[in-house]
């Protein structure tokens, strides 16, 4: 078969692949695409099945019987656990905007060292895996063009410029850089890429099934004929179950289980690219089905190959050889494409994810550390990722060229798996063990990888000829207990040996290390957050321990630099409308804002770089009281006095600044007062105008009908009431501003008060035919808050009367619920009336805001109710929020801190 034809075909396929990715990215925003998202997500997970699956399974089956299945049984066994483990990872990553495995680990253990270590180890572990994909593509290419005439493994490497594998690596790198790494934001989903990967998955499956069917029913008259004709000894390796080595199987299963969960490319498609958590459910059974189907024909194809094919053909190539040497060129090409897509799928996802890690954890932090913060821009981030892709592919090429060529696909794959398995303690510790800390993890990782290197990588270096063979046969320094493949003299399969020892020591050191050392407060925070993520579901701010001084303008500049001015403005106004101005009373930047900034930046440069950036700007110090005391005690008397002197000078300076700020604030308040007064007087003149007008009308028009006169008189009365209420509320507001609002401070039962209000309003509900629905969570009626019963009643009445005022004419429902979350009482009032327009949502709590009615109904409110309500709730230490869609009702949510049991007991 002509080489040119095949090259054209696979380039065409690459173009198609990336074309699909591009097209889907364009259409990704359209609503029609959303329903595909679920299937695209599910079908991208089989990227787990690489060229190893395609070619290597068959190869292994001819040698080792059923053990090829362990690679797939492992994931199959873990599938039920996905809903627990993976879902937790997804939730955590969404909350913390984490996009890579290294960020996941380093965020949890609050250690930048770990992010660097993780990245390096993953590179070391995955480069071999990528190289075997290159090997598979290259060799299948050669096989197709030579009709299998030459032996499969060429011992001599052709010069670089003639080596097709080299060109392949470069082409792939270029494709990835041009088509995928175009945007900066690392956490936005790559819908297009996933769609292309799903296409790959389908092609792989179809090709493999096609070959299977071809072999079973076209080359033979059915699977039975294959079993009849195969060499009985070979058949025995499948039927004789005593041949199954339990220990080996155990470790192989362990490896594949951990690989499935931890491989960073699996992390990418499974966790980082997850759109909705519930998509995970369909992904689980789709993947299960996929695994079953793709393994269905492995054994028949393997055995059929031994029967029909000449002995010199490498079993890894059976899948391709069978159609090719039996005249079915079309199927051969389809199969080649299947294998090609399997390999490229893995390479693409791996390279992208790895480049992200390299860029975020190594390249960009180096830039920051070298004090080149000014250089840091979105362009730089993108360029460093592109560079990383190139480096990874070239490294993989070199590994292939000098090492991978000499070993069967499967054994190198397993070495990679063993490397990935070293992250088991780190990840599972992060998810489930609060005490796991960075010392334990770091030491465990280092020792695990060292043993891995010694037992699994060293032998390959020996076999390539770079180290003496005596290392393997006699052990390190001649000590037979230290033979890399048989540590401690145990005669196990080398892979089992390596996995066993590296994991054993890794886990032990991890456990001991974690128990023996103490976590920092920050790490404790993250541990709390990770293990208990479900109770912190809405990304609440962590309890912050920042004690640094941050300059607001500097932060703003960095944000603008990295996000671009438009996006920065959007982010800032979003922050301001939700949380107000980010400066606290001392003029320092609010901790919540720092957190927000960090999360924004991590979307661009990764969580680790963002943290470095923020700490370098804050000169933040974690102040541990014990440390400070120790330090002071250790220094001499003079130093101590010096320190005290400096501190009091600093304090003096701070006080001066405080005074100046207070002055500014007062001036600001003055202006506010002016505005308030002019608004209030304006609002008061409105009812006066109506009253005066109607009075004059009644005086001047004696020919008014009784109905008209009555109507006008009651309007006058209403307006007078309205003014009165307004005056009351204005006085309330005045007191609240000054802080002298009369508020009792006693223990009251908020839910009882609420129920009292509901009872009192029953008449109104009935008259207006409003259905009331209530939902009290367990024990909520026995909770107390510290506050003022009358004011709370005022709040409830305000919310309820608003709900009534804006309720539907027919079929109105008001739902009131109360529940407890994180030591707070949460009360919701939900109506299904006409709701609030989006542009008004931010203003409903403003003074005098009233949505203009569409019908000519007389306004019954003053516009101050909600702003007073909000003030009262805030004085109770709580907060209030509104959610609404025009035409679809409104939800008012308030939260108040509950009184703690200890405080209650004191009374």
């Amino acid at each position: 078969m002509s080489a040119l034809l095949i090259i054209v075909i696979f380039i065409a396929y690459l173009v198609l692949l990336f074309g699909v990715a591009y097209w889907v990215d364009r259409k990704a925003a359209r609503p029609g695409m959303k329903k595909w998202a679920k299937w695209i997500y599910a079908l991208s997970i089989p990227v787990y099945c690489t060229a190893w699956t395609f070619y290597g399974s068959v190869g292994k089956a001819t040698v080792d019987g059923w053990s090829f299945l362990t690679t797939y049984l492992g994931p199959l066994i873990t599938l039920p656990l996905w809903w627990i483990v993976i879902r937790k990872m997804i939730r955590i990553c969404k909350v913390q905007r984490i996009a890579t495995l290294s960020d996941f680990i380093s965020t949890r253990y609050n250690s930048i060292t770990l992010s660097v270590l993780t990245t390096l180890f993953v590179v070391v572990g995955i480069v071999p895996y990528i190289s075997i994909q290159l090997k598979a593509i290259t060799e299948s290419f050669e096989f197709l063009t030579d009709q299998g005439a030459a032996s499969l493994t060429s011992q001599l490497n052709p010069p670089l410029w003639l080596d097709s594998a080299f060109y392949l690596s470069v082409i792939l790198a270029i494709f990835i850089i041009v088509f995928v790494l175009r945007t900066v934001d690392t956490t936005s989903q790559h819908q297009g890429l996933l769609a292309a990967i799903s296409m790959d998955s389908i092609l792989k499956l179809v090709a493999f099934l096609a070959v299977g069917i071809f072999v079973c029913y076209s080359l033979f008259s059915g699977p039975v004929e294959i079993f009849d004709r195969v060499d009985p000894k070979l058949l025995q390796s499948f039927t004789d179950t005593s041949q199954i080595n339990g220990l080996d199987w155990f470790f192989l299963l362990l490896l594949s289980m951990s690989a499935n969960l931890l491989l960073h490319r699996q992390f990418q498609v499974l966790v980082a690219e997850n759109g909705k958590e519930k998509h995970l459910k369909s992904a689980i059974w789709v993947f299960a089905l996929y695994l079953l189907l793709i393994n269905l024909f492995v054994v028949p194809v393997a055995l059929g190959g031994t029967v029909l094919l000449p002995d010199h053909i490498d079993p890894d190539a059976y899948v391709l050889a069978l159609p090719l040497l039996n005249g079915n060129a079309f199927l051969a090409i389809l199969t080649y494409l299947g294998g090609f897509s399997a390999a490229t799928g893995m390479i693409i996802v791996s390279a992208i994810s790895l480049s992200l890690m390299l860029s975020n954890n190594i390249f960009l932090p180096l830039t920051v550390k070298a004090n080149r913060v000014a250089l840091l821009s979105s362009k730089l981030a993108m360029r460093s990722r592109q560079l990383a892709v190139l480096i990874i592919l070239l490294l993989s090429y070199y590994y292939y060229r000098y090492v991978a060529d000499l070993f069967p696909l499967v054994s190198i794959g397993l070495i990679s798996f063993a490397a990935i398995a070293q992250f088991l303690p780190a990840v599972f510790g992060a998810l489930f063990w609060k005490d796991a800390n960075k010392t334990g993890v770091t030491l465990g990782l280092i020792i695990g990888f060292s043993i891995w290197f010694f037992t699994l990588v060293l032998p390959t270096i020996v076999k390539v000829g770079l180290l003496p063979e005596s290392l393997l046969t006699e052990g390190l320094l001649g000590v037979s207990w230290l033979r890399p493949e048989h540590l401690m003299g145990l005669e196990m399969d080398p892979v089992t040996n390596g996995t066993f020892w590296s994991l054993l020591l890794n886990v032990s050191v991890f456990t001991i290390g974690s128990l023996a050392t103490k976590q920092t407060a920050k790490e404790r925070n993250m541990a709390e957050l990770y293990t208990g993520i479900y109770s912190y579901t809405d990304s609440s701010d962590e309890k912050i321990l920042w004690k640094g001084e941050l300059v607001y303008n500097d932060l703003l500049k960095v944000i603008e630099n990295l996000l671009g001015p438009e996006q920065a403005a959007v982010a800032m106004s979003h922050y301001k409308s939700n949380f107000g101005v980010p400066l606290n009373q001392d003029g320092q930047v609010d901790a919540r804002f720092v957190n927000y900034t960090q999360r924004l930046l991590s979307g661009v440069v990764g969580a680790t770089s963002a943290r470095i950036l923020i700490s370098s700007m804050a000169h933040e110090e974690e102040i541990e009281i014990r440390e400070v005391v120790k330090l002071l005690k250790e220094t001499s008397e003079i130093n101590r006095l010096n320190t005290e002197l400096r501190m009091s000078t600093l304090a003096l300076e701070r006080k001066t600044e405080e005074l100046m700020n207070a002055n500014d604030r007062l001036r600001g308040l003055d202006k506010e007062k002016d505005d308030f007064i002019s608004t209030v007087t304006h609002e008061m003149r409105t009812p006066l105008t109506a009253i005066k007008a109607f009075v004059e009308i009644i005086q001047d028009h004696s020919d008014l009908s009784a109905v008209e006169r009555d109507d006008f008189l009651s309007t006058i009365n209403d307006e007078i009431d309205r003014m009165n209420r307004l005056i009351d509320q204005v006085l309330d507001m005045e007191k609240m501003e000054v802080g002298s609002l009369s508020m009792e401070q006693e223990f009251v039962n908020p839910v009882e008060i609420l129920r009292g209000c509901l009872d009192g309003m029953q008449g109104v509900f009935e008259a207006k035919k409003i259905i009331l629905s209530t939902d009290w969570s367990a024990n909520i009626k026995n909770t107390f808050v510290m506050g003022d019963a009358d004011r709370l009643k005022q709040v409830y009445l305000n919310l309820l009367s608003n709900a009534v005022k804006y309720s539907k004419e027919e079929g109105a429902i008001i739902e009131v619920s109360a529940s407890q979350a994180q030591n707070h009482l949460e009360v919701s009032v939900i109506d299904n009336g006409r709701g609030i327009k989006e542009e008004n949502l931010g203003q409903v709590f403003d003074k005098f805001f009233q949505a203009r009615d569409q019908t000519l109904k007389k306004p019954k409110g003053t516009g101050l109710g909600l702003s007073i309500t909000k003030k009262i709730i805030e004085l109770h230490g709580g907060s209030i929020n509104v959610f609404s869609e025009w035409g679809n009702g409104a939800v008012f949510n308030l939260r108040i801190p509950l009184a703690q049991e200890e405080e209650l007991k004191k009374t």
């Binding site: 409105t686 006066l688 109506a690 009253i691 007008a693 028009h701 009615d853 306004p859």
Partner: protein
């Protein structure tokens, strides 16, 4: 019969003025905000517009500016009716091209008299 457009976001004021002006023999149109007012002006081309100033989105000033920018509405009379009663507010209103600026609360008797006067011009 003269056409008068009343613009105010406060329903009670609209009701009272509509009553009075209908009794006075004028053909009355009402608008509850600036946008409605502009539509009605284009549709009905009233002879006089009574404008509240403080309205959400499109306010009285915007409407007045629009009227004064169109040749066609040269002869349309504009009366501002507003609770903004400071000297500078009154001057601003008159500078915008209003014929009259009355402050709230106003006397209806006075208003009717002024309207009659303006209508005759």
């Amino acid at each position: 019969m003269k056409k008068i457009l009343i613009v105010d976001d406060e329903p009670n004021i609209l009701i009272s003025l509509e009553f009075l002006l209908s009794k006075g023999g004028y053909q009355v149109f009402v608008a509850r905000d600036g946008t409605e007012a502009l539509e009605l002006i284009k549709k009905e081309a009233p002879d006089m517009v009574i404008l509240d100033v403080m309205m959400p989105n499109v306010d009285g000033y915007d409407v007045c500016q629009y009227i004064r920018s169109q040749e066609v509405y040269q002869h349309m009379k504009v009366i501002f009716l507003s609770a903004k009663s400071k000297q500078e507010d009154i001057e601003k209103g008159l500078q915008m091209g209003a014929n009259l600026y009355l402050t709230k609360p106003f006397s209806t008797r006075n208003l009717i008299k002024e309207i009659k006067l303006l209508a005759e011009q």
